[in-house]
């Protein structure tokens, strides 16, 4: 995702904060520049020479590390842990330079505190765009190196030796000449009295003992396997009430009347509250109860009338038809290289195709929720918090408080895939609005707002439906000479605080990323964009954002071109990537490991098999995937195996990278095979996992992940595993059956 600050949404705050536009290239330079200047903020505002201890005798040299007298090293993670392994990655960086004992390292989520914990890629605190390790790579290492230097200085004093005569290994400072050693815990208090060094030297990569070297157990594995990991849903505060809100049947419906008579009869229900919705039209109503079950039953027992006068009432089919019509007209020019129209007229052969993808819900396993403890002049939030700065500002604005009066405590998030970083802070503000309405009724209890699965599925903020229309011109040799692509889909950023900084000339970069910067050698490239503004369905970034649809069309189209040219799809791509060694690198690696040049093993009788390839760069990381599929006589599709090659620069935690590729492939396969949100008369059709289908155990392919050895700066892995999967699968289906699928999900298309 790209970013932001300074929200000017009409109902959200307009606080000024710095704004960093991360284009992929600008991102890395921006990170380096920021990392030099802003890397360390002393925890208690102390400068060099001041004591770095807190009241407990702990050693806290900076905002990211604490060492306690018992030797425990606590790393404070500025990024949310939502499954992507950020806690493990950030702790690895600190532990590497600190030479800590991994068994003694623990991670705590940082509170909202933009000054200390901003994402250096964004300029605000928040997680997205697969930036966690990339932006913190040097910052966390410096934090560890600083702590290490102070522990060494303390040991030197204690042992009365020169600091240079000491070494550090696995949580101990060693004086090898005399055989003496001191544990970090023994040194914690004395280290706190040392001057905070202004300069530290970081290890050169060949001296790394943890980064890229060994498999470290995930920091969150123990708690997530014994039930003790705390998610927002698990928060219990004294006197807390659970609130379940009622949402309108259509986007834009307005609440006309409320009858809560039956709801109030449900045992455990305490009250209903009507409140102005901070991000929807008009009022909403929520039921408060002493437990979740009662709150759900109470909410379901409300009799509500809605005014649909200004509601959005189109269905998905009508939206798609309108988009196809728009696709027939020129859009805003995004990329213009060469003269595509002339080249198309002169081409030996022209491929014309529409690629279509639906709305998608994030459908994290933990439905949206948020805990709010509201006081007169202070608001405390407990949340799996992905968007600290902007949520904090939005809450402050809603309540008329300064942002410092809004405390946000970090918890694990049971998935997010982008949803918990809402551009208008929708669910966080809803919880706060409910708490305020309750307080206005003199119910001063903390409030845990819970959405049911159905609320989560129907709550909007989807990956937008997109229609891509393309015309590719090939010359006599089958080489592409013109690529003309029109993208029609709602803008994610327009109407949010990010619009003014990110949307230039009417072009939302998140609508076209991955298509506008097509890497293939094509003399004439035209990419155009239509961003319909008359569609009332809220949209949002969804794991890999624009790449989730642009990779499907571009990698499908290049495959169509290869087939039309009668050439091998891998070699065809390879030829056209001569100027892009990292693209080529992963393409070659995936093809090699998949055995691309040897024939695929045949399936059983009447089973057609095929192999497809795709390559895509997103968020600075390069991923190629080869999918192997089987289609049986009943046209049942199975994805048997996916071979994945990833180049994410220096691999910090190879096993986490593998896990993110595996998970990204499974997440993408759900959207490839099954998932879609459709509307009928403005109402969301799907409600729960019965009709919004995600991937199941038996559908998971065998997966092989290969990581390119690289000394480049690390880039992200949370999202880049997603984009190539859908086209790799549909290209494999074409190889198996000769059928070209240009619409997701595949669902029952093969049966037609």
């Amino acid at each position: 995702m790209h970013v932001l600050a300074n929200r000017q949404h009409d109902k959200a705050p307009a606080a000024a904060d710095r704004l960093v536009n991360i284009s992929r290239r600008g991102f890395m330079t921006g990170t380096a520049g920021l990392a030099l200047g802003l890397y360390m903020v002393p925890l208690l505002g102390r400068g060099g020479g001041a004591r770095a201890a807190d009241e407990n005798g702990e050693f806290a040299p900076n905002a990211f590390v604490r060492v306690s007298p018992d030797g425990e090293v606590v790393v404070i993670a500025k990024h949310i842990e939502m499954g992507q392994g950020s806690y493990t990655g950030l702790a690895t960086l600190v532990a590497e330079e600190l030479d800590a004992d991994w068994e003694s390292v623990r991670v705590e989520g940082a509170p909202a505190d933009t000054r200390r914990y901003k994402n250096l890629a964004f300029g605000i605190q928040g997680t997205g765009g697969s930036t966690a390790i990339a932006n913190a790579f040097e910052q966390m290492r410096r934090a560890g190196a600083t702590a290490r230097a102070m522990l060494v200085a303390a040991a030197a004093e204690r042992l009365e030796v020169a600091p240079a005569s000491l070494s550090v290994r696995q949580g101990k400072v060693l004086h090898e000449a005399s055989g003496r050693e001191l544990g970090f815990g023994e040194l914690a208090e004395a280290a706190a009295g040392q001057a905070v060094p202004e300069e530290v030297t970081l290890k050169s990569p060949e001296r790394f003992t943890l980064i890229g070297k060994q498999r470290l157990m995930r920091q969150d594995s123990p708690a997530k396997t014994d039930g003790s990991a705390r998610f927002t849903q698990d928060v219990q505060l004294d006197g807390m009430l659970v609130a379940v809100p009622a949402h309108p049947p259509r986007f834009g419906s307005r609440l006309a009347s409320v009858d809560d008579g039956e709801a109030l009869k449900v045992p455990g229900v305490v009250a209903s509250v009507r409140f102005p919705s901070p991000t929807r039209d008009g009022d909403l109503v929520a039921v408060l109860a002493s437990n979740t079950w009662a709150a759900i039953r109470g909410r379901d027992a409300l009799t509500l009338e809605w005014d649909d006068g200004r509601a959005f009432t189109l269905g998905s089919e009508e939206i798609e038809a309108a988009y196809r019509e728009r696709a027939g007209e020129p859009g805003k020019p995004v990329t213009r290289r060469g003269d595509a129209d002339t080249a198309l007229n002169e081409a030996a052969r022209v491929i014309e195709a529409d690629y279509v993808v639906p709305y998608l819900a994030h459908a994290a396993m933990e439905p949206l929720d948020c805990v709010v403890d509201l006081q007169d002049d202070h608001c405390t939030i407990h949340n799996g918090e992905q968007w600290q700065t902007l949520d904090q500002q939005a809450v402050a604005q809603l309540l008329g408080l300064s942002p410092e009066r809004v405390t946000i405590h970090q918890l694990y998030a049971g998935g997010s895939f982008g949803r918990r970083a809402n551009p208008v802070s929708d669910y966080v503000l809803e919880a706060v609005a409910i708490a305020r309405a309750a307080r206005d009724q003199d119910r001063k209890a903390p409030i845990k707002m819970v959405w049911t699965r159905e609320d989560d599925t129907r709550g909007g903020h989807y990956r937008p439906l997109n229609v891509h229309r393309a015309r590719l011109g090939l010359d006599d040799n089958g080489k592409p000479v013109a690529w003309h692509q029109r993208i029609v889909g709602q803008s994610i950023l327009t109407g949010t605080s990010m619009e003014s900084m990110m949307v230039k000339g009417g072009i939302d970069p998140t609508s076209v990323e991955g298509a506008s910067d097509l890497p293939y050698t094509v003399p004439a490239l035209h990419v155009e964009l239509h961003s319909p503004s008359d569609i009332g369905v809220p949209v949002q970034w969804w794991r890999s954002v624009g790449h989730s649809h642009t990779a499907f069309s571009t990698e499908g189209l290049i495959d169509e071109a290869a087939v039309a040219a009668g050439q091998d799809p891998y070699r065809y791509r390879r030829e056209l990537l001569a100027d892009h060694p990292r693209w080529r690198g992963v393409l070659d690696l995936a093809a090699d490991k998949a055995g691309w040049t040897s024939p695929l093993e045949p399936g059983a009788e009447d089973v057609k098999r095929g192999r497809g390839i795709a390559v895509h760069q997103s968020f600075g990381s390069y991923v190629a995937q080869v999918a192997e599929v089987s289609v049986d006589a009943e046209n049942t599709l199975r994805v048997d195996r996916v071979v994945c090659a990833v180049d994410c620069g220096m691999a910090v935690n190879p096993d986490v990278i593998r896990a993110q590729m595996e998970g990204g492939i499974g997440f993408a396969l759900a959207a490839t095979l099954h998932s879609e949100i459709t509307l009928d008369g403005g109402q969301v059709v799907q409600s729960n996992f019965n009709d919004f289908q995600v991937l199941r155990h038996n559908e998971m392919p065998e997966i092989e992940v290969h990581i390119v050895a690289s000394g480049e700066a690390p880039t992200g892995v949370g999202e880049p595993g997603v984009p190539p999967l859908a086209p790799a699968v549909t290209n494999a289906i074409h190889a198996a059956t000769g059928r070209r699928l240009r619409r997701l999900p595949i669902a029952d298309q093969l049966e037609a």
Partner: protein, 156 residues
């Protein structure tokens, strides 16, 4: 009043008969390792054991629990099979967001008690109702095989 035996402890609960077991465990007893994911028995995040049988606690009302013993993720460290499953999960770093994993571990533990050496088809059969949106399925499968192997060694 409803009496429930959860992880060997008896609880007297003032709860309506139709309250699903899930909410009694989470909101009334305070064991929050068992998760709410769908409320319709569709995702498996709420899986507990009733007399050892894997059960979706979000759709079984308290009135239907009767005097069956309830076991949750919090008790698995004390259970030989459950502990092996947890250990395998950690060895292979199965978890990502972790929200579904209590249910996955409860389902896998019940499977291994029933079938000490499940093949992939048996794993699919037993686990297919336990959704993981992070798609940790490759590692769940591997971890079940790992746990089966370690349990098999203990037996022999």
């Amino acid at each position: 009043m409803t009496t429930l035996t959860i992880n060997g402890q008896t609880h007297e609960l003032d709860a309506p008969d139709d309250m699903p077991l899930l909410w009694a465990i989470r909101d009334l007893v305070g064991h929050t390792g068992t998760k709410y994911g769908c409320g319709k028995g569709l995702c498996g995040a709420c899986t507990v054991h009733l007399d050892g049988q894997p059960t979706r606690s979000c759709i079984i009302p308290l009135s239907a629990v009767g005097d069956r013993r309830v076991a949750t993720i919090e008790a698995m460290a004390e259970d030989a099979t459950g502990a092996s499953v947890q250990q395998a999960w950690r060895e292979l770093d199965v978890v990502q967001c972790g929200y579904c994993q209590s249910g996955q571990i409860m389902a896998a533990t019940a499977l291994l008690r029933d079938n000490p050496a499940p093949d992939d088809a048996a794993i699919d059969g037993a686990m297919n109702g336990n959704l993981c949106r992070c798609a940790t399925y490759v590692r769940i499968r591997a971890a079940i095989h790992t746990a089966a192997a370690s349990l098999g060694q203990e037996v022999s």
